[in-house]
Amino acid sequence: MRRGPGGDGSRARGRAYPQVMGMTRVVDLLREPARPKRRTAGYVIALVGPALLVLVFLPFREDLQPLTIGFAFLIVVVAAAAVGQLGPGILASIVGFIVFNFFFLPPYDSFVIARAEHVVALFVFLGLSVLISALLARAVERADAAEAREAEIRTLQELSRDLVVQGPGEETYRSLLENLVESFGFEAGALLLQEEGIGLVEKLSVGAPAGSLSPSWNPADPGRPPERLPLSVGNRNLGLIVLAGPRAPLSASESRVLRAVSDQLALVLERDRLLRTATDAEIFRQTDRVRRNMLAAVSHDLRSPLAAIKASVTDLMDPEVERNDTQRDEVLRTIDAETDRLDALVANLLDMSRIEAGVLEARPESVDLLELVTAEVDSACTRWPGIRIASQIDGDHAIVEADPVFVARVLSNLLDNAAKAALRTGHPDIEVRVGRHGDGVAVRLIDHGDGLDPLAREQLFYPFYRLEERTSKLGPGLGLAIARGFVDMMGGELWVEDTPGGGATFAFSLPAAVRS
């Protein structure tokens, strides 16, 4: 079978090929076996055998006991019945009966029998012959039936092996369909599945262009109607297998095998459906958990600055407290800083929901990182007074194709994370490096903080998954997730490395601008 130029398909067929070869042989057994031929041979034996015996024994008929010759005729009967079953056996009995009587029972060459004991012998011969023919025929028939059943079972096993062995998916269904088409001598086949609210939809087809195999048959069509095998489990109708091709109608055993295969396919389809449902449920459960953790974390992170602001404002509102300008200034500065923190958090949350909803779109343009990084570093320096940020920018490799707003958000998020790590550990130096990276440009933010624990690494990819309920804080997860989302949208990559000597290095790459 050589159909379709697809690389995938040929690989699948290559794997299935030896099985198909084996199956073709097996299925041949299913096509009505060589019984007619054997029957003819039986009849030949029934006719030729007695004639030969006459030729052989005629010269000696005076010297031999009629009973001895009768046994020789019995051999012919057994042979005819063994080869050709009941019909030839009976024929051999009758022919033997006549020939034995005519040639070997005195008076010879007539049907008259002189002695009574010979009459008895003749009819015993007839009775025995018929009995033996019948018994043999039944034995042979049973053996044939057993063989046929075995062939059916083997065919079924061959066909359904893929279903059991291979994982769920279209590839499995396709290889089964290919095997069915090939081993049963069809030309084309299609798998149609019942889709909710739509009806039957063709899932895949082999040997015919997609959609060309219709389950309904036009009586005006000169060809044979296609075979239709319904797929159902319990009361649920899952779909249909359609097989078409110029071949004889299915034999009873072929239909049995095909029905069994389609039942198995139906079970597998149902299993795959349930598997999908289970997977969906698991995903939903995890998403739900992530959402709950995230909600707890967000509410904590929103309330902390709010608590500081509320405490500071109510502090200032108290008229009974004497305060000098410096003290008043300090309180106001706290309020200011905390308001900024709230604002940044709200901006991040909005970005996150926009990224998740897919409503954000990068508007790439030519961006000079020299400018952008310098601006972001300056603003980070005012946000984090205790931090020293040194930047080292390769001006020849600083023009990228990117969305400037996104890049600014990525930079400020990463700078904030680095600053927090630096403050936490008392190593206030942060380095920003911009340089060539493959065909593009990479920005590296190097801190000398306490480095990344494995949890943080994981959070880079699943920002809220591992949040513990007890210390429900967003940590660096949200900012990193957003940075990653933005970088992804601009066709870049975000990754993390260990800083030599301790600390973390967050890096992201962007495509270089096309020089016009």
Partner: protein, 233 residues
């Protein structure tokens, strides 16, 4: 000078509270985590501990448990709205009161003063007398009167009243009250407690519909909030 220990892992909250308390003449000490808090309680002997519940590594609950193992310093727990179960556990473990973030400095100071008063009152030991409108409660004389008429309190009502007065200003959880007044094994019969508190209010509150003495903290417990009149019986 009264010394207050502020325990919170958020630096800006520590700073804001420290500044506010300092401006009102309290001596402020701070701790950023549980270990440090235990250290400061041991070495600094604060008069009140203001303790955040949600801290990494050692949470506020554990800190409360450990402080209570050897100290009876008043503990004011800070929590956010969705930490009710933790808040109640903290109170059951021996915390004295709680505040939900965000809160105003005025409220924090009021709670702190109430806790300080309780320790002062406990130190004085004189049986207090309360007067609210026409109702007078004399704990020393074991007597309650309403418009000069004596009011009879059952044994259980007295026990309940004494529990409240003894922990004046402190928030008492349902469980604590039930186990203290009724005994072990009654800890979950919140309905019983509700019925008795309502009876007690009818006898001692000037307006039982708007209680002034026994204040309900929804879902948590009750608090005695009347100050005794100066004169002792």
């Amino acid at each position: 000078m009264t010394r207050i220990l502020v325990v919170d892992d958020e630096a800006q909250i520590r700073a804001a509270l420290a500044r506010a308390l300092d401006a009102r003449g309290y001596e402020v000490d701070t701790a950023a985590d549980g270990e440090e808090a235990l250290d400061r309680v041991a070495t600094g002997s604060p008069d009140v501990v203001v303790l955040d519940l949600n801290m990494p590594v050692m949470g506020g609950l554990e800190v409360t448990r450990r402080i209570r193992a050897w100290s009876s310093v008043p503990i004011l727990v800070l929590s956010v709205r969705d930490e009710e179960p933790d808040k109640i556990s903290a109170l059951d473990l021996g915390a004295d009161d709680y505040l939900t973030k965000p809160f105003g400095v005025g409220e924090l100071l009021a709670r702190v003063r109430a806790l300080l008063r309780r320790t002062d009152a406990a130190a004085e030991k004189a049986p207090p007398v309360f007067r609210m409108g026409s109702v007078e409660i004399d704990m020393g004389a074991h007597r309650v009167s309403r418009a000069q008429e004596p009011v009879h309190l059952t044994k259980t009502e007295w026990a309940l009243l004494e529990s409240f007065v003894a922990a004046s200003g402190k928030l008492l959880t349902h469980r604590w009250l039930l186990e203290h007044v009724w005994g072990d094994g009654y800890g979950d019969d919140v309905e019983v407690l509700r019925v008795f508190v309502s009876q007690l209010r009818k006898k001692i509150e000037p307006d039982p519909q708007r209680p002034r003495a026994i204040i309900t903290e929804p879902g948590v417990g009750y608090r005695w909030s009347v100050r005794p009149v100066a004169e002792g019986a």
